[in-house]
């Protein structure tokens, strides 16, 4: 067994590529997410721009070798800045027949397929409905198939090591990673270090996984099967320190950062739910920065506890997905009536009901905007990419704290689990979110008026328990203006309803920017949230075909930017792609009387740049 990774590749031809999309696919138990993560990390070290997309089954362990059990991880890397995880893979690593069957339709002709031939047994083929092995019936003729006996070669490479056959077989994902790392000339030191850390308690597994990785690498190096090795040069990226980050991790860090910048303790009330639980997991690690997390008994308690913490003066947050927001509605209404700061994170997933918990969708916009009884306005914002979740979380906290209002942050499964390089910000450059609690009575003759507003922000005083002289009672019943006393007065209710609406409408948000490089576009494509990447990539393709197109993307959906109406009217046609049945389009049409063209898809998957480009090309050419 070769002990060293050989870096010299004299016999192999080296080809330069601008970009590559690789999809690792296997059984849920094959470690594909880990393999993809490691490849991503190696690629980040090299300085490529990256975008990743995991795709895993909702079942923790579906039956082995079946189509529902297939888990995959796609990574797109390039020598320029990229916006999406890529439409179709150039390379598919298929660890079993199910992985091949589930993914082969996504491959363009000429794609490389690395298959683990050991798993192509009669039994496994039958399990997924292959009568004849696709490796033998010519059905893969349009691809470059590399049959590799991944499992047996891994076991062979580990023969001298003191590991069980089962552990040896389990290391086959590292063999695959070694091979693909060789093919794309990735640096491997970080993976070796990672394996040492991961298996620190079991040195025999460190040795086994490292040996498997090296065997895969050296197999690429020596075998005739692989004649070409590829390189993708580093991308030109802004100077600074980067890390690769998922949307959920970035969102959690954004909340921690908001707490530090507000000098307030962060309180998270949450109930486990896919795909938001990782935010709870991450935040539970940051107690030393003053973060308290409470795993509540249900979604309602999670938000209710956050309301209680907000009343006590914390930066209060609740994180969930659509079904949880549905349950939280009444408590969010209470926070609206109490005019307390509260950040509600909705990591959207496909609905209705349980829907498809691990698949993405943008169909909670209506619920965020309108999903409460009575006139219950709040602010809504959405991140556009994984790393943007960090800044969107800070922005949500800023609005909540400054304007004393609940804010719904609409992430989704696509940005939450996708990853990209993140240019680390300077902490000192992040917004200053400090707030002033009320300390003194604000009314005549020393009375405290809990609903006397700041004329600029329309925020009421945040008078937290423990402040002498400001003892007061608030609640969900309608309150009289200024005093906050219970009031059933018709004129007062009308005034308060309008005031609550006006204070959300009056939150100043940045103007929407338009990307129209030559200023000659007549079609504007307007998006919000996670569609930013695919829309941007589609616009680039149109421009490469000399078809002008303008792109605008909304971060703030409530309130909408003040210049949006004027922007929309500048263009002959406005197209709104969404992963729902046209929810933003309805808002735009109703508010601006603009005949916007909705383009909708609800397949649980992000748009591909190709389909958007084709659609937009048609609109640009044919109106």
């Amino acid at each position: 067994m070769a002990e060293q990774v050989s870096d010299a590749a004299p016999a192999k031809q080296v080809q330069q590529l601008e970009r590559v999309v690789i999809r690792f696919a296997g059984d849920s138990g094959d470690g594909m997410q880990l393999t993809g993560d490691r490849f991503t990390s190696e690629t980040a070290q090299l300085g490529n721009d990256i975008s990743t997309l995991p795709n895993f089954p909702a079942e923790i362990r579906a039956p082995a070798g079946t189509l529902p059990g297939v888990s995959s991880f796609q990574v797109h890397f390039a020598d320029y800045d990229i916006l999406t995880p890529g439409d179709s893979p150039n390379v598919l690593v298929a660890m079993n027949p199910a992985a091949l069957k589930a993914n082969v339709a996504d491959l363009p002709p000429g794609a490389d397929i690395i298959v683990n031939t050991d798993e192509f047994t009669k039994r496994n083929l039958i399990k997924v409905g292959y009568a004849v092995s696709p490796l033998e019936d010519g059905s893969l003729a349009r691809f470059r198939v590399h049959p590799v006996a991944l499992t047996s070669m891994t076991v062979g490479a580990l023969a001298d090591l003191d590991v069980s056959k089962k552990d040896a077989e389990r290391a086959k994902n590292m063999f695959a990673l070694g091979l693909v790392s060789w093919m794309y000339s990735r640096p491997h030191e970080s993976t070796l270090r990672f394996l040492e850390r991961k298996f620190a308690k079991r040195p025999e597994l460190v040795a086994a996984n490292i040996a498997a990785f090296k065997a895969g690498w050296n197999f690429g190096e020596t075998t005739e099967t692989f004649t070409v090795r590829y390189e993708v040069k580093p991308a030109k990226m802004a100077a600074g320190t980067y890390r690769n980050i998922t949307g959920n991790a970035a969102l959690a860090l954004g909340l921690v950062a908001a707490g530090v910048r507000a000098q307030l303790p962060v309180f998270l009330g949450a109930y486990p739910i896919t795909p938001a639980s990782d935010i709870l997991h991450e935040l539970s690690k940051h107690k030393r920065l003053g973060v308290t997390t409470m795993q509540a008994e249900d979604e309602i308690a999670a938000v209710a506890a956050a309301v209680g913490a907000a009343y006590g003066g914390a930066l209060a947050v609740t994180t969930t997905s659509g079904p949880g927001v549905a349950l939280k509605g009444e408590s969010i209404s209470l926070a609206i009536a109490l005019e307390l700061p509260l950040v509600i994170v909705d990591v959207q997933r496909a609905g209705p009901s349980t829907g498809m918990p691990t698949k993405t969708e943008q169909a909670d916009l209506n619920m965020a905007l309108y999903g409460r009884h009575g006139e219950a306005p709040l602010a809504v914002i959405a991140p556009k990419s994984p790393s943007d979740c960090f800044h969107a979380a800070i922005e949500a906290a800023r609005i909540a704290l400054t304007y004393r209002t609940p804010v719904i942050l609409l992430s989704d499964n696509y940005v939450a689990n996708g990853s990209e390089p993140w240019l680390l910000p300077e902490v000192g450059d992040l917004p200053d979110l400090r707030v002033e609690f009320a300390t003194e009575p604000n009314g005549e003759d020393g009375r405290f008026l809990p609903y006397l507003r700041d004329p600029e922000t329309m925020a009421r005083p945040w008078a937290v328990p423990g402040t002498p002289g400001l003892e007061h009672r608030i609640g969900g019943l309608e309150k009289a203006d200024r005093t906050g006393d219970i009031s059933y007065d018709p004129a007062n209710h009308d005034f308060m309803v309008r005031t609550r609406a006006a204070r959300i409408d009056g939150i100043p948000v940045p103007d929407v920017e338009v990307d129209d490089p030559d200023g000659d576009a007549s079609v504007l494509v307007l998006g919000w949230g996670s569609t930013y990447g695919p829309i941007g990539a589609a616009c680039r393709r149109l421009r490469q075909r000399n078809l002008p197109i303008a792109q605008a993307h909304l971060r703030h959906i409530a309130p909408l930017p003040a210049n949006l109406g004027e922007v929309l009217r500048r263009y002959d046609r406005v197209v709104i792609p969404e992963m729902n049945l046209g929810q933003l389009a309805h808002v735009i049409r109703a508010k601006y009387l603009v005949d916007a063209l909705p383009y909708n898809q609800v397949r649980g998957l992000p748009f591909t740049a190709t389909e958007l480009a084709n659609m937009l090309e048609d609109v640009v050419k044919n109106g």
């Binding site: 980040a44 070290q45 300085g47 970080s190 802004a238 100077a239 600074g240 320190t241 980067y242 890390r243 690769n244 860090l253 921690v256 950062a257 530090v260 000098q263 303790p265 309180f267 009330g269 107690k287 030393r288 920065l289 003053g290 308290t292 409470m294 008994e297 249900d298 309602i300 308690a301 209710a304 506890a305 309301v307 209680g308 913490a309 907000a310 009343y311 006590g312 003066g313 209060a316 009444e330 408590s331 209404s333 209470l334 680390l424 902490v427 000192g428 328990p465 423990g466 402040t467 002498p468 002289g469 400001l470 003892e471 007061h472 009672r473 608030i474 609640g475 969900g476 019943l477 006393d485």
Partner: protein
């Protein structure tokens, strides 16, 4: 609970807010409010450090009438809201006021979880065995067969015994008292205030509009002695005008029974011990009274020590902070840059 060392010299009047009290004339809530306002100065806690949180229902108007901090929240959620407040503000004395519908029906889940966590809340459940605010439907403590607006032919649901429920959740402090017995009510409040962790108090409260006289058996001078069992820690459990009844633990049975004292050897009369760690004892006590109130214990059933949720959470925060070095900004910078990073020049 934080206690000021200097006497604050507050009076009941200091705890009266400027809001007009709007319960029906004759409602038992008035007596409870007066008892609580009169008791509050004993706590010697500044008013600004006291918070009353309530849900929805007649009883939940309570915070408006207390000149402390207060929140009249939404139906059933007061224990959850109060949990968030208490755990993030351990310096406060947080009280929850709720009713049988609020706490046991729509908010049942929050109540049992607050109790199992042992959040440092003092929970006052006004049990009037009826929905008052919505004008007279049966509640989860109404007797089986109760005829109300929503059950013209009698309810088909068996009621909860609130104390059994709280004890099933292993509440560390469980007590029962009666609206009209101010002295007893205040003695229970006192014990609850001294308890670190969740204190659950069921208060039998008369709704004179929709369920008048529900607890008359325990209030009428002519009947109460034969039906009301006053629990006192360390004392034999006897009742009746001459102590002619007692509570025993019969051999071979799971529960407790009532006997004529004369028929029982003195050493077999059960001596009340609220500190028994096994909730089964207090549970057995709670089972002595059914819907008919025939033999109803009042007083402190259980008072045991268990670290409160608030304390455990604060300890974890303190431990994490003790190990931290640098300013929050420096720690945040370090946190953002953790994991595999790379630098582009």
């Amino acid at each position: 609970m934080a206690e000021a060392t200097i006497p604050l010299k507050l009076t009941a009047k200091d705890f009266k807010s400027d809001q007009e009290v709007r319960w029906c004339p004759g409602c038992g809530d008035y007596a409870i409010l007066a008892a609580v306002q009169q008791f509050m100065p004993e706590l010697n806690i500044p008013r600004e450090n006291i918070v009353f949180v309530s849900g929805i229902g007649c009883s939940s108007r309570f915070p408006y009438y207390m000149n402390t901090y207060g929140m009249h929240s939404i139906h059933g959620r007061a224990p959850a809201i109060a949990t968030g407040l208490s755990v993030s503000r351990p310096d406060l004395s947080v009280w929850v006021v709720t009713g049988d519908g609020d706490a046991l029906s729509i908010g049942g889940n929050h109540l049992i979880h607050a109790l199992r966590r042992n959040v440092n809340l003092k929970i006052l459940l006004f049990n009037n065995r009826i929905y008052g605010l919505t004008k007279g439907q049966y509640s989860p403590t109404s007797e089986l067969g109760k005829i109300t607006k929503s059950t013209p032919t009698g309810s088909a649901d068996s009621p909860f015994n609130p104390l059994s429920l709280a004890l099933g959740a292993e509440a560390t402090f469980v007590a029962r008292t009666i609206d009209s017995d101010r002295k007893h009510l205040q003695s229970v409040l006192r014990a609850a205030a001294e308890h670190d962790g969740s204190a659950f108090i069921e208060i039998y409260q008369n709704c004179n509009i929709f369920n008048d006289g529900a607890f008359e058996l325990l209030k009428d001078p002519g009947t109460k002695d034969d039906h009301l069992i006053r629990l006192e820690h360390g004392q034999p459990i006897t009742f009746g005008a001459q102590g002619q009844f007692c509570v025993v633990h019969p051999a071979g049975g799971f529960g407790l029974s009532v006997r004529e004292t004369a028929s029982v050897a003195p050493e077999d009369v059960l001596v009340h011990d609220a500190t028994v760690d096994d909730p089964a004892y207090a549970f057995a006590l709670s089972r002595l009274s059914g819907s008919d109130l025939g033999t109803t214990p009042i007083g402190v059933f259980r008072s045991v020590r268990r670290e409160s949720y608030d304390t455990l959470v604060q300890e974890q925060l303190a431990t994490a902070k003790a190990g931290a070095t640098g300013t929050p900004e420096e720690m945040l910078s370090g946190l953002l840059a953790s994991g595999d990073t790379w630098t582009i020049l």
